[in-house]
Structures are given as structure tokens and as C-alpha cells.
């Protein structure tokens, strides 16, 4: 009966568009929390992009002016460490966000949301934060690297740099930001999705 009716009446859905809309609303309305989560991504990405943009400028300088300015290898280690710290702080921040929204998640499940819908919602929110934080971080990195290179090698190096190489790096940076954020949100989102609604609704915030 129920199964037959289910086929007639349609399915349980949560489209990407709905998830994006709800996720965007959540990010917008929980702006303080979003800023905290985003700060981790932004700082990590800013450090990463400063170093790599500087490297791009150095290569241009080496090609046009000769000489061999180089990024010290320990600096790459620092970037690696900062990105690892970035992942951990996003995870931490997202876990707190899940606890804050215990009741909300429980309620949504009562209203017919599936585990995968909750998972989708949290991953979408992290995607939005990654895109914003990644772009912002790249902007900061761009400014920082231009300032350093101008001081050390002169502004002409920057003018000689083909814009396409900077754009490529922007694309790569945002992609990296999305990957980092997704990896970091996996566990909190899984926790949220697996939440038992009975427990969640009993939980007092």
C-alpha cells in the first residue's frame, strides 16, 4: 500500500538547487560562524598563494633579467604545515556548527530529510565557504606577493608577468581550497547525517 502510494506520490528529494539555496541562506544568516570557518581557509590559502605567486614572479625575473632569486625550500614546508592546520581548524569549526544545529538537524530528519540530504547540506555549505575563502585568500596572497616582489625586484617584473599564469594559479588555488574544505568537512557532515533524531531532539542547547 505504502510502497504503491509512494510511487504515485513521488519521492523524497533534495535537489542541488534547494541545497545551494538553503546552504547559502545558512551561511548568510550564521555569518559569524561562517566568518570563523572561512578565516581558517582564507589564511591558509593566503599563505599558499603568496608563496606560489612570488615564485611565479621570481621565474619571470629569472627569465627576463637573469639572476636566480629562489624560494627557500623550508618555506614550502611551512605552507604544508599551515594547510594542515587549516584543515584541522575547519573540521573543528564545522563540528561545533553541527553541535549548535543538533535540534535543527533532528527536526529536519523528522520532517523527512534523509541522511544524504543532511550530508549534502553541510558539504554544500563548506563548498560555499571554500569558494569565498579561497578567492579572498588568493586576493590577499596576490597583494602580499606584489608588495614583496616590488620591494625586492621592482614593479616591472610584475608588469612582465603574463596574466594567464596568475589566472591559472587562481583556478588551482580555488580548487585546492575546495578540496581542503571538503576533506575537512567530511567527518563533521557524516556525524550530522548519522545523527539519531530521537537523541537530537532530546538534546538541550
Amino acid at each position: 500500500m505504502l510502497v504503491k502510494e509512494r510511487r504515485q506520490a513521488g519521492r523524497i528529494t533534495f535537489s542541488i538547487v534547494d541545497a545551494l539555496r538553503l546552504g547559502y541562506d545558512n551561511v548568510k544568516r550564521r555569518f559569524n560562524r561562517a566568518v570563523l570557518s572561512m578565516a581558517a581557509i582564507t589564511l591558509g590559502i593566503a599563505f599558499f598563494s603568496t608563496l606560489y605567486l612570488t615564485d611565479v614572479f621570481f621565474r619571470v625575473y629569472a627569465q627576463t633579467e637573469g639572476g636566480n632569486p629562489r624560494i627557500e625550500s623550508y618555506q614550502y614546508w611551512l605552507v604544508f604545515v599551515s594547510l594542515a592546520v587549516c584543515i584541522v581548524s575547519i573540521t573543528n569549526s564545522m563540528l561545533i556548527a553541527v553541535y549548535e544545529r543538533y535540534r535543527e538537524i533532528g527536526t529536519m530528519k523528522c520532517l523527512g530529510a534523509l541522511d544524504q540530504h543532511v550530508l549534502k547540506l553541510f558539504l554544500i555549505e563548506s563548498l560555499i565557504l571554500a569558494l569565498l575563502g579561497g578567492s579572498l585568500g588568493f586576493g590577499i596572497g596576490l597583494v602580499a606577493s606584489i608588495v614583496t616582489v616590488t620591494v625586492t625586484l621592482g614593479f616591472s617584473t610584475i608588469l612582465k608577468t603574463p596574466p594567464i599564469s596568475i589566472l591559472t594559479l587562481l583556478g588551482e588555488t580555488v580548487l585546492l581550497s575546495v578540496i581542503l574544505s571538503t576533506v575537512a568537512t567530511m567527518y563533521p557532515a557524516y556525524r550530522a547525517a548519522k545523527l539519531d533524531p530521537v537523541e537530537a531532539l532530546r538534546y538541550e542547547v
Binding site: M1, V3, I12, F14, C110, G112
Partner: protein
């Protein structure tokens, strides 16, 4: 031919183990609920009212026994079908309202329609109609925190009706409301029950609710103590 019962439980039991001790939250409940009935469930806290609700809503699995909703044994359903049941068949109303604070009244009511796959504008039109029918037509874009307790519970009632469920489960719906507001909510629920034919099951301590219902189930220690006919609805409460 549909059965005259929308919900049947057979020897329903749910045991928990807390610190090595077995707690019998439900211990052999046989309950039959008629279609379109307004049923009150009464009992001291810990009597198993909420556990019974969780069982009927498919949120929890029984230790023993069966829950049959519309002739379907819901223990046979998978997670997807249970979600479908919660989405389409059952509306929930809570003591603490449980509205989503970041969404407006309209968005809260429209939320279940998203899961039901209703197109967005259609869902919002319906949410608007429902909010108007509970007397909140002028509060569509208010957040829950900008509404009074009674208004929040009205939004929750509109949300429970969003997908035209056959059953509404109300867990102490007047527990956080003053006398007068509580009475308004009871009258609203009673009206929905009468006009839309939705089966209403309410766990309550509230004498006014008991008076308004068709039948009253008294629970104690996870068992049904007795079932009585309800009193007359108290329409004009001062």
C-alpha cells in the same frame, strides 16, 4: 477497502539499557487508532508517551511487537521509506516548537515541501495559505524569535500540515504556552482535525486538551492503563 484503523500497535515494546539496568519505556502496548480521530495520551513523565510517538513516527525501532500504519508494518520499511512516511504521512508538533531559527515563518512551513519534491513557488504558495489559515497571514517573513510562543506553535502546526499528512503527532503542544494561548492552539488543532479529517494524536498533561479529544488513553510504566471516551470540547474559555 481501507481498514478503519489508521494506526495499530501490537504488543509494542521498547527496552533501553542504561547503566546495566533495563528500562522498559514501552512494555506491550496494543493500541488501535481510528481514522480521523482525536486521541489524547495521558500519563506521568516516563510513562512512555514520547517513546510511543517515536515508534509511530518511525524514528525508533521496537524491541518487540509491531506498528502498523495504513495497513503497512513499518518495521519492514527501509530508511528511505521511513523518511517518506515522516515526510508525507505524519506531521510533527513539539512542545518546544523546534522551528528553524534562521528561516522565516514562510520558509519553515515550506521546508517539508522541499523534501516532498514540490516545486519551490508551489511550496511557498501552499505555505502562505497554511499560515493564513492559522491566522499568521501578516507574519510570513518574521523569524521565529520575532514571534510569540503561541505564534511559533501556530507556525509549527502549519509546518506539520505542509504535506497534507494523514496523522499529526503532537507531543505536549501546549506545554510551553499559557492557558489562553494553549486554548487557542487546542481549538486550532481540533478545527484542523474536524475540517481536514487528519488523525490527531496528542500527548498531554493538559486537562483542556483531554476535554477536547474523542478518546483518552492513560499510560503508566510503558503500558496502557485504560482508555476512556473524551469529554466535551471547552469552546469558550475565558
Amino acid at each position: 477497502m481501507k481498514s478503519e484503523y489508521i494506526i495499530e500497535t501490537e504488543d509494542l515494546a521498547r527496552y533501553y539499557e542504561v547503566g546495566g539496568e533495563v528500562i522498559k519505556a514501552l512494555d506491550g502496548v496494543d493500541l488501535k487508532v481510528f481514522r480521523g480521530e482525536y486521541l489524547s495520551i495521558v500519563g506521568p513523565s516516563g510513562a512512555g508517551k514520547t517513546t510511543l510517538f517515536n515508534m509511530i513516527g518511525g524514528l525508533d525501532r521496537p524491541t518487540r511487537g509491531r506498528v502498523i500504519i495504513d495497513e503497512v508494518d513499518i518495521s519492514q520499511l527501509d530508511a528511505y521509506e521511513l523518511a517518506w512516511l515522516r515526510c508525507r504521512k505524519i506531521g510533527y508538533i513539539f512542545q518546544t516548537f523546534n522551528l528553524i531559527d534562521t528561516l522565516t515563518a514562510l520558509e519553515n512551513v515550506a521546508l517539508p515541501t522541499i523534501f516532498a519534491g514540490v516545486p519551490r513557488d508551489e511550496g511557498e504558495r501552499k505555505a502562505k495559505r497554511l499560515l493564513e489559515s492559522v491566522g499568521l497571514g501578516d507574519r510570513l517573513n518574521h523569524k521565529p524569535m520575532e514571534l510569540s510562543a503561541g505564534q511559533q506553535q501556530r507556525v509549527a502546526i502549519a509546518r506539520a500540515m505542509a504535506n497534507d499528512p494523514a496523522i499529526i503527532l503532537a507531543d505536549e503542544p501546549t506545554g510551553n504556552l499559557d492557558l489562553h494561548t494553549g486554548m487557542e492552539i487546542i481549538n486550532l488543532l481540533r478545527e484542523l482535525n474536524k475540517t481536514r479529517g487528519v488523525t490527531l494524536i496528542a500527548a498531554t498533561h493538559d486537562l483542556k486538551m483531554i476535554g477536547a479529544s474523542d478518546r483518552v488513553v492513560y499510560m503508566r510504566d510503558g503500558k496502557i492503563e485504560k482508555i476512556e471516551k473524551g469529554g466535551q470540547p471547552i469552546v469558550n474559555f475565558p
